[in-house]
């Protein structure tokens, strides 16, 4: 009997300790949730922020732009991350802060001789009307489209800036992260995909769009045509911890972190 009492007492103490521990952490951490494209940059910002301000905690989670917006509405996140412009009906719901701008890179295999495409050509490739690289000045190979999944922020930005009303071909391969797109395109000489310019590495080739090289400098100068905002959105009464973090992100220090990682400063 006493043995049972002891065991249950120990379990109770453990549970209490656990709940206090979790509760304490939760109160201090600022939840930043949303776009998978913004996530890696937000994590670096959070790291720099926590170093600069000991005692403040930022918890960054992915899930997607739409998830971020929903989490902000539900009060699960103090800040939502969004990698596309807000839609009309969303604008009324949030206060938005542009933390950076990002070029949308059209990427191909490094060995692909095609290095310059017009927006119109990109659209006709992704609708499936143009199905061979020869038609855009490349070798005689089929074009393999790699896209992001339905309603990812990156995909929606691509749809808006490139596709307009046109639909992406059914043959397009869908992947659920920038990393997976990169993995496929760097392996496959026939592939073409789109991703955040900040995440393009030397394993891929970002083609020139309308003759303009996809570089941060050209995004900043407004010459590169495919540019989208990275947004932080908040809702309701201002939250001191959220404001403090956003101020840090917009400060020269925070913006320097983003520029170092290949994004373009907001202002």
């Amino acid at each position: 009997m006493t043995k049972w009492l002891l065991v249950s007492a120990a379990i109770a103490v453990l549970l209490m300790a656990l709940s206090f521990g979790l509760g304490g952490r939760e109160e201090a951490a600022l939840a930043v949730v949303g776009s998978n494209s913004v996530q890696p940059f937000a994590e670096m910002l959070a790291e720099a922020y926590q170093q600069a301000h000991p005692g403040r905690f930022v918890d960054v989670q992915g899930g997607g732009s739409t998830v971020g917006l929903q989490a902000t509405i539900d009060g699960i996140a103090e800040i939502g991350m969004c990698s596309r412009e807000l839609k009309k009906e969303e604008e009324a719901l949030f206060r938005q802060v542009m933390i950076a701008r990002d070029g949308l890179a059209i990427v191909v295999h490094p060995s692909n001789p095609v290095s310059d495409l017009a927006v119109e050509e990109v659209r006709r490739m992704f609708t499936g009307d143009v199905a061979n690289w020869r038609a855009v000045g490349g070798e005689d190979r089929p074009i393999r489209l790699v896209v992001r999944e339905e309603s990812s922020g990156t995909r929606e930005a691509f749809m808006k800036m490139v596709m307009g009303k046109a639909r992406v071909s059914r043959k397009a391969i869908s992947q659920d992260s920038n990393g997976a797109i990169k993995e496929l395109v760097k392996q496959d000489a026939c592939a073409i995909g789109f991703m955040s310019l900040g995440l393009v590495t030397s394993e891929l080739k970002a083609v020139r769009i309308e003759g303009v090289p996809a570089t941060a400098a050209n995004v900043l100068a407004g010459r590169y045509p495919l540019v989208r905002p990275f947004l932080f959105v908040t809702r309701g009464p201002a939250d001191e911890r959220a404001e403090h973090f956003i101020d840090f992100v917009l400060s020269p220090e925070g913006q320097a972190v983003l520029e170092r990682e290949g994004l373009v400063r907001a202002r």
Binding site: G63, G64, S65, T66, V67, Q70, R144, E149, E150, S151, S152, R167, R170, K171, A172, I173, S174, Q175, D176, A180, E183, L184, Q187, D188, C190, A191
Partner: protein
């Protein structure tokens, strides 16, 4: 005596929790999914190939075909290799070697599916692309990855079923002059048949339901596959890929996808069960084997 009753009560409550979890999940999926099927129309939902959820077009035919194709491929690979392995282990191998090999195969079941997926993307997909053509992400790649994933299930349950066949069957057959192989395929395998069918059903369940590894190697296109080198999207991938973003009717349509998935799994299981019941030979022994395998 009172203690006895209390324990029985607690155990009953625990058992009911598992069943009620099933009931809650099923009713939730149906509650969320059925309205959109009613709105779109069952025939349209199942037989249309147009999946444009943001424009209100919900047709999941390519995903149904994808799931079936990938599962069929996985079962071909899983059953051929798994059953072969089980026969070798039970009929042609000294017990000491079995005691090493069987646990090693069962270890495969402990590897997380994302690791299988990663191996598929890093090794298998480039191999297929270079040597067989196509994008590499394909029915074939998914089938191979899933086939390896169901191997431990199929092997281990088949081994149990084969081991449960009474020794007397084997001895009787050999005494009549049959070789070991003749005994295996004419007597032992037949006697263990329903246990082996159970192994296949469980393996199939895992193959239909696997998500992570399939998302990574199947390509997730919305087109109907025309060959095993074409990429496909399965029902599970469709749900997992889009659930994070979906809202409104799109979200409901993903639940409806789950309803169809549930229905497919139930149909597959019933077919497999019915087939195993209708097999005439070795019925009694099969039952004994199945009981022993449990």
């Amino acid at each position: 005596m009172r203690k006895e009753k209390v324990i029985a009560g607690v155990l009953a409550a625990l058992a009911l929790t598992a069943i009620s979890a099933l009931a809650v999940i099923a009713s939730f999926i149906f509650k969320e999914g059925l309205p959109i099927i009613a709105k779109v129309g069952l025939a349209e939902f199942i037989f249309s190939g147009n999946w444009h959820p943001l424009d209100g077009e919900f047709g999941i035919l390519p995903m149904i075909v994808g799931s079936l194709a990938v599962t069929a491929g996985a079962m071909v690979i899983g059953v051929v290799f798994g059953l072969g392995c089980a026969v070798l282990l039970t009929q042609f191998c000294p017990p000491r070697i079995v005691s090493v090999i069987k646990p090693s195969i069962e270890l495969l079941a402990g590897i997380p599916s994302v690791v299988y997926g990663f191996m598929g993307v890093a090794i298998l997909v480039p191999l297929i692309r270079e040597h067989l053509g196509g994008p590499g992400l394909s029915v074939l790649a998914s089938s191979v990855v899933l086939g390896v994933m169901v191997l431990p299930t199929v092997t281990s349950i088949s081994v149990d079923a084969l081991q449960a066949v009474p020794r007397a069957y084997f001895e009787g057959s050999v005494a009549l002059g049959a070789t070991v192989w003749q005994t295996t395929h004419m007597v032992t395998l037949r006697a263990a048949r329903s246990g082996i069918v159970a192994a296949v059903i469980l393996g199939m369940g895992r193959a239909v339901g696997e998500t992570m590894a399939v998302i990574m190697v199947a390509g997730n296109t919305l087109d109907l596959p025309h060959s095993i080198l074409d990429p496909v999207r399965t029902l599970t991938s469709n749900i997992a890929l889009e659930m994070g973003y979906a809202a409104g009717d799109h979200r409901k349509a993903l639940f409806a996808t789950a309803v169809v998935l549930l229905a497919i799994i139930m149909v597959l299981n019933s077919i497999a069960l019915a087939v195993s019941r209708r097999l005439p030979a070795g019925r009694q022994a099969g039952r004994a084997a199945k009981a022993a395998a449990r």
